[in-house]
Symmetry: C2
Subunit: 255 residues, 2 copies
């Protein structure tokens, strides 16, 4: 199983290193910026190229990890290949790869930061096959990285990606707003860390509908009014507080 | 150091058990519902009462862990005591305790669920003293539970409480919305768990301004439009998506 990596960003880098670590040979890395291709190629023992027509056409699998808007252009320009072509995007339908006889999706469901090591054995790998002929190779590739391997359709993957935006990207923005509030009061973000971990750990064991705490969840309007009063001079904070508090208050009535 | 616990909810229970475990004797538990006072009293080896005038007036510290609206009523009705009276509320000014000569605040900064064990040694304990004469007893009590002990004013505590609403309560609501989205697609919340833990773990080492990922943080309008389109039939999800996405897009421009 020879692999070509197309792209050199966070996902390509972490995925490439994990595949290399699992003994799957990566033969080539393509990036439109040669230095980026070279950096990743060095990490995974592969050759580097920035010339799309030079992509090795004899590999068994091509993994496209690119920003969504770069993806379509690269798909158009890629040479004919006989191997399986997959992308790793959460919100892109598999059908964009229709020009390749063998294609599919290979989506490691995690948030990747370039400098932070990732343990792939805990990450769900979601795959989708364009035809029966690629099922085995995708399942083998996924299983080499993680025991958590799931077949997921393009429609489901789209929904899952939105759920991840709420549970990861929006959550991080809440951390960021909390950080700003503390900064104003000259308090350290460190004070919040045990609370942040506990909030995440709770939903490992209980459904999030049962772990809701705080003034809105106990309909404590007295505290909510105090908070509104303290935030009213800070428009984004005030309106975000009101919007999410209202959602929690409404959810209370559903139970 | 004899302690009387006033209240029998999540905070009173976890705090009482931790104090008891640290060798601080709890002599009495008051709750307006006798069975609740008895349950907690049994756990901490104390006597129980539901009669406010029967509160032991010889204790050295009285810890009031009550809902904000019950707090004021109980403060009014409590007998005269010589010991230190503290409350454990995030958003209540210390001055509500002015009728007691010795008073202060003792605020364990964590989210408590009744059924989930809590390791107090990781929890910041925030204290505020109404007079110099209570500083030592509050600091001693806090240090018996945790190495993370901080003096924090009522104003700072109010801000910290709001920050906690964002970083904990609102975060949990984001988990809940993600859970609902997955339910619609017949996907398990389990798929999100590694992502949730990683998102929380990242901000242990890096400021949250540097860990933001996702379509809004890379100004990927193509994906954002796709998500809006998928959510448009679901009003609370659509408007929450738009509100927080807009905040992240604006934050991008700040850097």
């Amino acid at each position: 199983m020879n692999i070509v990596l197309i792209g050199s960003g966070n996902v390509a880098t972490h995925l490439g290193m994990a595949l290399n670590g699992a003994g799957k040979p990566i033969v080539q890395v393509y990036s439109q910026t040669l230095i980026n291709a070279q950096k990743l190629a060095l990490k995974v023992g592969a050759k580097a190229t920035d010339t799309i027509v030079d992509i090795d056409t004899t590999a068994s699998i091509y993994i496209l990890s690119l920003k969504d808007d770069a993806l379509e252009a690269v798909i158009k320009k890629m040479p004919e290949v006989k191997g399986v072509v997959v992308h790793t995007a959460g919100s892109v339908d598999m059908k964009v790869l229709n020009r390749f006889a063998k294609h599919g999706v290979f989506y490691p469901f995690q948030t990747f930061s370039i400098d932070k090591a990732v343990d792939f054995s805990t990450i769900p790998i979601l795959w989708e096959a364009g035809s029966d002929s690629v099922v085995d190779i995708l399942r083998t590739l996924a299983s080499a990285l993680s025991p958590h391997v799931h077949e997921v359709s393009s429609l489901q993957r789209g929904k899952l990606h939105i759920a991840a935006v709420f549970a990861c990207n929006f959550v991080n923005h809440m951390y960021r707003m909390a950080d700003e509030l503390l900064l104003e009061s000259e308090l350290s973000f460190d004070l919040l860390k045990p609370l942040i971990l506990e909030t995440a750990n709770k939903v490992m064991d209980m459904p999030p509908g049962e772990t809701q705490t705080g003034p809105a969840s106990r309909t404590d309007m007295k505290v909510i009014e105090k908070h509104r009063d303290m935030l009213k001079s800070n428009e984004p904070f005030y309106s975000t507080y009101n919007t999410i508090t209202q959602l929690i208050l409404s959810a209370n009535n559903d139970y």
